[in-house]
């Protein structure tokens, strides 16, 4: 698939020549990518390939240094209203990063109340709805420390959902989970796509990538080497680097 040189304003996310430096180190190397509404993108690649940096650029937790990032036709740069951007692009982390001093319910209502100015009762109603969607409504009054890893990750997803985002970024969401919890999270992520939410997920979980992704983005050394449907990627990778990567993954 050949992309045009200018970004596509009709895509949910359109990226052209996106680069990022840490001092002299090139972390992201001229990435081009279009992601359409409701798409499930999985980013694969060896450690240090720039996957996490890449998705952190999408909500500007890490600002990019050059290139164009466009979300719903709006250029994201240093003049962008970050509050609005982060309202429409949610994020879920590997270590959940729940607020330990707040109950599950308060974790879900804090940002909507502070950032969006939603009343407590409205925020709680929304939170309870999403908590039931991720099947932990009964844990609403507990503190994060009382929950298992899988349960905490569901709360983290519910917390992101409470901001009503159009896009959710997942930064290795299952890396700290046991296989049983992983399948639960996979189910939830599938539901998100059905609701029209675009997901971009960094993972090392091959089965997960295979079953959930609409397209696989394969990265190495800050550059995107392949963008292909999962069947093609896993059976007939186009680049030598992807073949080595897959061989190593399967061996482990």
């Amino acid at each position: 698939m050949q992309l045009s040189t200018s970004p596509d304003p009709t895509a949910r996310i359109s990226i052209r020549g996106l680069s990022k430096f840490y001092k002299d180190y090139l972390a992201l190397d001229r990435i081009d990518l279009d992601i359409s509404k409701g798409e499930k993108i999985v980013v694969l690649g060896p450690s240090g390939s720039g996957k996490s940096t890449f998705i952190r650029c999408l909500n500007r937790i890490e600002p990019h240094d050059s290139g164009v990032l466009m979300i719903d036709g709006h250029v994201i740069d240093d003049r962008t209203d970050l509050t609005a951007l982060r309202g429409s692009v949610g994020m879920v982390f590997q270590n959940y990063n729940l607020f330990p001093h707040l109950s599950v319910l308060d974790n879900c209502t804090l940002a909507p109340r502070l950032v969006r100015g939603i009343t407590k009762s409205d925020a709680e109603a929304t939170a309870r709805r999403y908590l039931s969607q991720v099947n932990i409504a009964e844990q609403a009054e507990k503190f994060p420390i009382q929950l298992s890893g899988g349960q905490q990750q569901r709360v983290a997803i519910a917390r992101a959902l409470c901001m009503n985002p159009e896009i959710i970024l997942f930064d290795e969401p299952t890396a700290a989970l046991d296989p049983e919890s992983i399948s639960g999270i996979v189910g939830i992520m599938r539901d998100l796509a059905d609701q029209g939410i675009t997901t971009v997920c960094v993972t090392h979980e091959m089965g997960f990538a295979r079953h959930i992704a609409d397209r696989i983005v394969f990265m190495d050394r800050g550059a995107v080497l392949e963008v292909t449907p999962p069947e093609e990627f896993f059976t007939a990778p186009r680049t030598e680097r992807a073949r080595t990567f897959l061989a190593q993954m399967i061996r482990h």
């Binding site: 970050l82 982060r86 001093h101 420390i145």
Partner: protein, 507 residues
């Protein structure tokens, strides 16, 4: 009309100037300020449980001088060592505090004598009399620090060493009552003081101690009023004292306070040795003086710590941040104020600061403000390290999560970082506060009437040190236990950090 007013002014002005000509320069704004250390009865002490009610020969003289110059007397109490620094810092116009007229002090200050006195060496009853100070060779002797007795004993020691004999071992204590106590409890052989003090202490000391020597030291014959060097002021003060002396007023004051008669017959009166006196103990415990002292201790500690916390939070955030000039300056601030003794900082702010900035010798700069200022600065240097550690202990992922939810930096600190840092900072902070509560006792050196200052003043008056120390202890312990209890209560709110407790609470 205007002419009449000018005429009236012309008549009044020379009169006003004539009056001003008669006033020493240390009397101004209608006030005569006095520095005194009220722990030396009957010269200067607190007679009763109200620590503001000064009494004694020196206080009467100061009042009479103020009346003589038609101004108000403003007394300030402080530790003996603080008297001359305060005089130099222009915190007061004169020092009357049972201070002897001595050549050494005359180099820096002017002095006018007002009362004759004799130096005495006192030991426990039954101790044989001695012929000269050299007979105390090898013995331990207590004196009040800041007094000239120490220098005198050093001169004796030089002679002793020259003749190959062991020197007199010297111990110095901040208040006269502690000096006497050392003899009473038998730690030291003798104490050196002036006969006038013994007249007053007859009741408390009768039957317990005896005068073993009245050495003839030329420098120890007269009590004097000290002022800053100024020949005109000195002459005016001499004139005033001479007039009062001629009218017999000074002799009358001395008589009023029992300063007369033969010092050898002082200790004829005998008292039964006292045990722990519960009436005194409970009297002290429920006295307004102790209550006020404890309240002052609590208020100054709370205010200082709150101020320290308020300034140390932004400091900690800056110190945890990127390297900058400000960060380095803050690092220096922390090093200096943690490094220098708290007592030194108090003394510096109270006595040295006015020499650089005259504004700090004005009346608004009270011992309370000075203590608040020094303890806040001092405590902030300790608190900042607690805050830094607590802020650092919060997982950076928390900031990332708050960021990703669109929260502002202020919202992130207020709702995410501070509540978590508080849990980590609370136990060491309460620890610091308890330490600070006790550090406030240092402020007695700059005349703050906190709990320990009140205690010492009462002990100086009555010599019932066990009872008053016990009362002070009760207050300190009560305050500390209250804050430990408070800590436990607050920690209950942090169940979120403990899986078992959180689960137990839910069940």
């Amino acid at each position: 009309m205007l002419a009449a007013a000018l005429l009236a002014l012309a008549v009044l002005l020379p009169a006003a100037r004539a009056l001003a000509d008669d006033l020493p320069s240390f009397v101004h704004d209608g006030q005569l300020t006095l520095c005194t250390n009220p722990t030396l009865p009957p010269m200067t002490f607190v007679n009763g449980s109200d620590t503001n009610a000064l009494a004694g020969m020196d206080i009467d003289l100061a009042r009479r001088l103020a009346a003589y110059w038609h101004v108000a007397l403003i007394p300030q109490t402080m530790d003996f060592e603080g008297l001359f620094p305060s005089l130099s810092a222009q915190r007061c116009g004169m020092v009357i505090s049972g201070v002897l007229r001595q050549a050494g002090r005359l180099r820096n200050y002017d002095a006018v004598a007002y009362l004759d006195s004799t130096v005495v060496a006192v030991a426990r009853v039954g101790t044989p009399k001695i012929r000269e100070m050299a007979d105390l060779s090898g013995q331990t002797v207590a004196v009040q620090s800041g007094t000239s007795y120490a220098a005198q004993i050093e001169r004796e020691n030089d002679r002793l060493r020259a003749s190959g004999r062991p020197p007199i071992i010297l111990q110095q204590y901040p208040t006269e009552d502690q000096v006497v106590q050392q003899v009473l409890i038998g730690r030291v052989h003798a104490f050196i003081s002036q006969d006038v003090e013994l007249y007053y202490r007859q009741k408390q000391l009768g039957g317990k101690v005896t005068i073993i020597l009245t050495p003839d030291y030329p420098d120890f014959h007269q009590f004097a009023v000290y002022i800053r060097k100024d020949s005109r002021d000195s002459a005016l003060l001499q004139k005033a004292i001479d007039e009062l002396s001629q009218k017999g007023e000074i002799a009358a004051m001395a008589k009023k306070w029992g300063i007369s008669g033969d010092h050898q017959s002082v200790f004829t009166e005998r008292n039964a040795p006292s045990r722990f006196d519960f009436a005194t103990f409970f009297g002290a415990l429920f006295s307004t003086a102790f209550l006020k002292g404890a309240a002052l201790t609590l208020v100054i500690a709370l205010l200082s710590h709150l101020t320290a916390i308020a300034i140390s939070i932004p400091m900690a955030m800056k110190l945890n941040g990127r390297d900058s000039i400000i960060r380095r300056l803050l690092g220096l601030y922390v090093a200096v104020f943690r490094g220098a003794p708290t007592l030194l900082q108090l003394l510096f702010i109270w006595n040295a600061l006015p020499q650089f900035f005259p504004i700090f010798r004005e009346h608004w700069f009270t011992p309370f403000l000075a203590t608040w200022l020094s303890l806040s600065i001092n405590e902030s240097a300790y608190q900042v390290e607690i805050n830094r550690a607590a802020l650092r202990a919060v997982d950076p992922g928390q900031v990332l999560a708050a960021d990703a939810l669109g929260m502002t930096t202020a919202q992130t600190y207020r709702h995410v970082i501070f509540p978590q840092a508080l849990r980590i900072a609370l136990p060491p902070t309460i620890n610091e506060f308890i330490s600070l509560l006790k550090t406030t006792s240092l402020a007695s050196v700059i005349s703050l009437q906190e709990l320990l200052a009140v205690t010492q003043i009462q002990v100086a008056r009555t010599f019932q040190f066990t009872e008053y120390y016990a009362a002070a202890l009760v207050y300190y312990l009560a305050m500390v236990f209250f804050f430990l209890f408070l800590q436990k209560r607050i920690e209950r709110r942090f169940i979120w950090a403990d899986r078992n407790k959180a689960s137990a609470d839910a069940a």
